[in-house]
């Protein structure tokens, strides 16, 4: 009796976990990489991406952050918006955000409002408005402009420099 009860509790937990994934329909995986120069067989240097956690990363280095999303459900999904805060201790590198079929917007107010770079303004110490610079960005969002069919997905990415 006791073992049956434990089994049923476990089953409930398993279903709950599986259920949450499938109910979501969309999964997203975040990756942090750095580009290192390695010598190829011809002795030429070429850029290779390696996981940032396995690399030697210090101040001033550029890190490539990418979010891989996939529709794991059995129906198409729409209005996909991927939101990524610029990681702490890093500064967004201008014009590095990208992703197919996306409209990219930035926030300079902690993610409250978003707009294209040319429309973003911040106030300087004297209260005067100026066009925001890349280091003012707090969040990036990618608005996917087409429906994502089942088993399909994409990748959105940006680069940030470690302070």
């Amino acid at each position: 009796m006791l073992s049956k009860r434990i089994l049923s509790v476990l089953l409930v937990i398993v279903f709950a976990l599986v259920g949450s994934v499938y109910a979501a329909g969309v999964e997203v995986k975040s990756v942090a990489e750095v580009e290192v120069k390695v010598k190829n067989e011809k002795g030429e240097f070429e850029a290779k991406r390696i996981e940032a956690a396995k690399a030697n990363v210090g101040p001033g280095d550029e890190v490539i952050f990418s979010n891989h999303y996939v529709n794991n459900g059995d129906q198409p999904v729409t209005d996909v918006v991927i939101l990524n805060p610029v990681p702490m201790h890093t500064v967004y590198v201008e014009k590095t955000a990208g992703g197919d079929f996306t409209k990219i917007e930035f926030s300079v107010d902690g993610g409250k409002t978003f707009d294209a770079p040319e429309n973003l303004k911040v106030k300087d110490k004297k209260g005067r408005e100026r066009i925001a610079k890349a280091e003012d960005y707090t969040h990036i969002r990618w608005i996917v402009t087409k429906p994502v069919a089942p088993k399909e997905g994409g990748v959105v990415y940006f680069r940030a420099k470690i302070k």
Binding site: A23, A24, G25, V26, E27, V28, K29, S30, V31, A32, E51, A52, A53, A55, N56, V57, G58, P59, G60, V63, F65, N67, Y69, G73, Q75, V77, T78, D79, V80, V81, I82, L83, N84, P85, P87, M88, H89, T90, V148, V156, I162, K163
Partner: protein, 384 residues
């Protein structure tokens, strides 16, 4: 008065902000800091907004960047003159890495022939009494008696607002080199861990005590340690690229007089020919011309003595007590011409005498010879 002091305070505040700002902007991410990234996805299914989905958290740990930057702040060669007045080369030591470092300072005398970074010639000598001083009162200039000798910086935090001024100081009591001689010196700074131990590159277990912070933990975190310094001007044996050391150079230029003396003689007249093609016969008047030249780069005050004692004792010559060479026609009792001016033979405060200061000797004192100029002393003798 009140408004003025308020203004001063305001200016000081603005200055602080201006000075402080670059340092704050530069503030590097401390070693062992974990940087994390995640994304959130919103989407709709069948036109119905669904619960947002979070990604995993991608994280990595920031390593240690070791980079000390030494900069010479002189804008020209620093003059040094013989004596006890110390001469200082000024340097700034900056921590451009991300961990607080101790710094060991040393100086290196450049090899002979090394060009001064500020022109004017090549290194040709080394001083004997050289020491490194800290800018104890932090006023940016060397103050003898206030600034103290020091060869270590304890806990130099990253950022330009934390940079320190140090001096290479030369006490020139041994200086004998001629004017315009050059001595080039390097200040070499070596980064150490904040606990004073040596740093090595690679994958290292870095503790808070080493990094001078709190992110690594007391027991430490294994991170990559990288020397990111440039190759300074000091020879590679003292400072190469990416060796945890950096250097810069400054130079001393000697301000000293360089005196040369030449003496010529010419027969001015004789009792037979007068001043026309005179010959060196008894009774002839001979003019001695002593030229003192200063080819150095500092003014000099010299004393000129010329003894006729031997010739007079032997009865060959007599001193002509009234000088006349056709150029300078002096009054009776004026037998010495200094820089075109007739001087009395007696010791009357005109800095020239004959047979007073020293027997049978011409003595000229307090004669100033400016740099790059000559002065001429003339007197005459009569052949016996």
């Amino acid at each position: 008065m009140k408004t003025r002091s308020t203004k001063k305070v305001l200016l000081a505040l603005i200055a602080l902000v201006l000075i402080g700002l670059p340092g704050m902007l530069l503030a590097a991410t401390p070693p062992c800091t974990s940087i994390t990234n995640y994304a959130t996805v919103n989407f709709s299914m069948g036109g119905v907004p669904q619960t947002a989905v979070n990604s995993n958290t991608a994280s990595f740990t920031v390593g240690v960047k070791v980079k000390i930057v030494v900069t010479n702040n002189d804008t020209t060669n620093v003059t040094v003159s013989p004596g006890t007045t110390k001469a200082a080369l000024k340097f700034t030591v900056l921590n451009d890495g991300n961990a607080t470092n101790d710094v060991a300072l040393s100086y290196v005398a450049a090899a002979s022939g090394t060009a001064s970074p500020y022109g004017g010639g090549n290194d040709s000598f080394d001083g004997t009494t050289i020491a490194i001083y800290e800018d104890t009162n932090s006023n940016g200039t060397f103050d003898d008696g206030t600034d103290q000798p020091s060869t270590t910086i304890n806990d130099l935090a990253p950022g330009s607002s934390n940079s320190k001024v140090y001096f290479i100081v030369y006490t020139p009591n041994d200086l004998t080199q001629p004017g315009n001689s050059i001595a080039v010196y390097y200040l070499v700074a070596q980064a150490k861990w904040a606990d004073g131990t040596n740093i090595s590159q690679g994958s290292i277990n870095v503790t808070n005590a080493m990094a001078g912070g709190t992110a690594c933990g007391a027991g430490g975190t294994t991170v990559d340690v990288v020397f990111a310094d440039d190759n300074g001007p000091a020879p590679d044996a003292y400072d190469g690229a990416r060796d945890g050391k950096h250097s810069d150079d400054g130079a001393y230029i000697v301000q000293n007089a360089t005196i040369t003396v030449s003496k010529t003689s010419a027969v001015y007249s004789d009792p037979v020919n007068g001043t026309t093609s005179p010959k060196a016969i008894p009774g002839a008047i001979v003019t001695y011309t002593i030229t003192i030249t200063n080819s150095g780069n500092a003014n000099a005050t010299v004393t000129v003595t010329d003894s006729l004692a031997t010739q007079i004792t032997n009865g060959y010559l007599a001193f002509n007590t009234q000088f006349n060479d056709g150029v300078n026609s002096c009054a009776a009792g004026e037998g010495i011409v200094v820089d075109g001016t007739c001087k009395t033979n007696i010791n009357d405060g005109d800095n020239a005498d004959w047979n007073v200061t020293t027997a049978n000797t011409v003595t000229v004192t307090n004669l100033t010879v400016p740099q790059s100029l000559s002065k001429v002393v003339k007197f005459q003798v009569v052949i016996q």
